[in-house]
């Protein structure tokens, strides 16, 4: 698991504020398994442990440590349609969902093929 903080750097375009949802999607497509989390959230901790237990190396973005985290959190809430934005998992750039969806897909056996497809897991 590696934690990523966006490097603002010199290539930043002229617009100062990007659409948070766009940013979320951009970040999500950069790695095979992306988790948006909050450092104090215990359910996020559980989901991280789940992936680590499977041998996956997810990319984690802690929204409370990101300067634009608040907006992204709101965008995720709208995306998920729930009052809690985190934890939320993207695999292969596609939204999988919150803890319940991830667990459901793991139990019914669809998570592992998805991970393999995204290249996050090798047999």
């Amino acid at each position: 698991m590696h934690y990523q903080t966006e490097s603002w750097g010199s290539y930043m375009p002229t617009r100062s504020v990007g659409d948070p949802l766009e940013r979320v999607e951009r970040l999500a497509s950069e790695n095979a398994v992306v988790i948006f989390s909050i450092s104090t959230c215990c359910m996020c901790h559980a989901i991280k442990r789940l992936f680590c237990g499977m041998g996956v190396n997810p990319t984690v973005y802690e929204l409370d440590e990101d300067p634009r985290g608040k907006e992204m959190e709101k965008a995720l809430m709208r995306l998920l349609g729930s009052s809690s934005a985190v934890p939320v998992v993207f695999i292969g750039g596609k939204l999988v969902g919150a803890m319940d969806r991830v667990m459901a897909s793991h139990i019914n056996g669809t998570l592992v093929p998805l991970l393999k497809e995204a290249g996050a897991l090798w047999l």
């Binding site: 959230c41 215990c42 359910m43 789940l50 459901a104």
Partner: protein
């Protein structure tokens, strides 16, 4: 009127004999012998007396009291009736018998001495000292009125009746007063006893309620007519719902067992299996409702039997355990099925571990929050800090419900996946195995609780 009074007198005697504890000494004896004479001498219309309603009784009472007034005892009229009525209104049960008790006996006591009356009068006054003041004043008034004799105000209409033997009348009236006073005393004692037992009943009910909430398993007592209606909210409601659910579950399982043993067709078996599965969905739904109202009650598992509770995991059974139990009972399995079951066991184990670690993190985080800031001797400190701490801790506690929810989802999904992997027949057997295992665990609890202690 006279007949009526005699009838009432006789019914009074019926009540009195059952009530008098004989603690008032010889005075009663003499009085009762008087009543005995009365009973023999008069005709007895017990039914007439019994059929009176309390409402009409009041009216009748005042009538009869006014008859007594006619016998030259004016002071007795309003005061006695009012005191008797006021003292009688508090009693709901047994009211009727009390009314009869306080009914003054308007018959003659030929063999009662005058001194006896005077004596008992004095004693009764002192006994009445702690009772209602108006009664005391009544008695004193009556007593004084009788003693002086000359101060009796007689109704103008009753002057003709005044000619009948004064002394006898006065004695009779005094005896009436005695009886009335004694009856009132007895009534007070009885009412006091009733009040005490009522308080005791309330106490016992409260204890029972407390004991229930502390987790004495309510076995099927509440199932039956109102099974489906959620009785209010809260832990007790869930316990009742669970008891009902368990009953229904056993019924479904029995049907399934019969079907499996009698080798019914697949279609019918499929229907029965689906019944059990959707019934499982029902309990998960109930649990989520219960968790919303009291998550700690759900997590504590007091609604389960002790042995079940001991091996409980995050508010219910442990899916991976269940699959291990199923293990050999599912033979024969195809290779694909075998792999499916293995994967299922593996993934449920992983999910369980993840949730468990999440719970540990929660506990650690809560501990950190509560122990931050000043503790111990310098503890009191900043109120704002304390409130902030508590708010934070409250937020963390709120996630417990989510964990419980996820754990239940895990259980539900494991069952459903198992159903998907197996054939109808295998699924039926699997459900029977699971159910039997849990029943045995429950039976073990009962045996354990009932074991002889040294």
């Amino acid at each position: 009127m006279q007949n009526f009074i005699e009838a009432l007198t006789n019914s009074t005697m019926y009540c009195s004999s059952s009530f008098i504890r004989g603690d008032e000494g010889s005075r009663n004896q003499s009085r009762f012998s008087g009543l005995g004479e009365l009973e023999q001498s008069t005709g007895f219309h017990h039914e007439d007396a019994v059929n009176l309603s309390p409402g009409s009784f009041f009216g009748l009472k005042s009538n009869s009291v006014s008859v007594v007034t006619n016998l030259q005892f004016g002071g007795l009229n309003t005061s006695v009736s009012s005191s008797d009525i006021t003292s009688a209104t508090g009693v709901d049960t047994g009211q009727y018998s009390f009314q009869k008790e306080t009914m003054p006996v308007a018959a003659s006591f030929g063999n009662v001495h005058f001194e006896n009356w005077g004596d008992s009068g004095m004693v009764d006054n002192s006994q009445q000292a702690d009772t209602s003041t108006d009664v005391d004043i009544d008695d004193k008034n009556q007593f004084q009125g009788v003693q002086s004799g000359a101060l009796i105000s007689v109704d103008s209409a009753d002057r003709s009746k005044a000619k009948t033997g004064d002394q006898k009348t006065l004695r009779r009236l005094a005896q009436n007063r005695e009886a009335a006073r004694k009856s009132r005393l007895r009534k007070k004692v009885y009412v006091q006893k009733l009040e005490n037992s009522r308080l005791k009943l309330i106490q016992l009910e409260q204890e029972l309620q407390r004991a229930r909430q502390q987790g004495i398993f309510i076995a099927n007592g509440y199932s039956g007519d109102q099974s489906h209606s959620v009785i209010g909210n809260g832990p007790l409601a869930f316990d009742m719902e669970y008891a009902w659910w368990l009953d229904e579950h056993q019924r479904h399982i029995n049907d399934l067992r019969v079907a499996v043993n009698s080798h019914v067709g697949d279609n019918e078996l499929c229907l029965l299996v689906d019944n059990v599965m959707s019934h499982y969905d029902e309990i998960f739904r109930l649990k989520s409702i219960g968790a919303k109202s009291d998550v700690f009650h759900m997590l504590s598992g007091t609604w389960k039997t002790p042995a079940e509770r001991c091996f409980m995991w995050l508010g219910g059974f442990r899916s991976s355990e269940l699959l291990k139990i199923l293990g050999n009972h599912l033979e024969p399995l195809t290779d694909q099925q075998l792999m499916g079951i293995c994967n299922l066991q593996h993934s449920s184990q992983q999910a369980e571990d993840a949730l468990f670690q999440g719970m540990e993190a929660l506990q650690q985080s809560l501990a950190d929050t509560l122990s931050s800031g000043a503790l111990g001797p310098s503890g009191s400190g900043n109120v704002a800090d304390y409130m902030g701490q508590m708010a934070l801790a409250m937020g963390k506690l709120g996630t417990l419900e989510n964990f419980l929810h996820q754990a239940d989802l895990l259980r539900q999904q494991t069952l459903q996946q198992m159903h998907r992997i197996l054939t109808t027949h295998q699924a039926a057997r699997a459900l029977l195995v699971i159910s039997d295992y849990l029943s045995r665990l429950r039976a073990l609890s009962s045996l354990w609780l009932a074991r002889p202690r040294d």
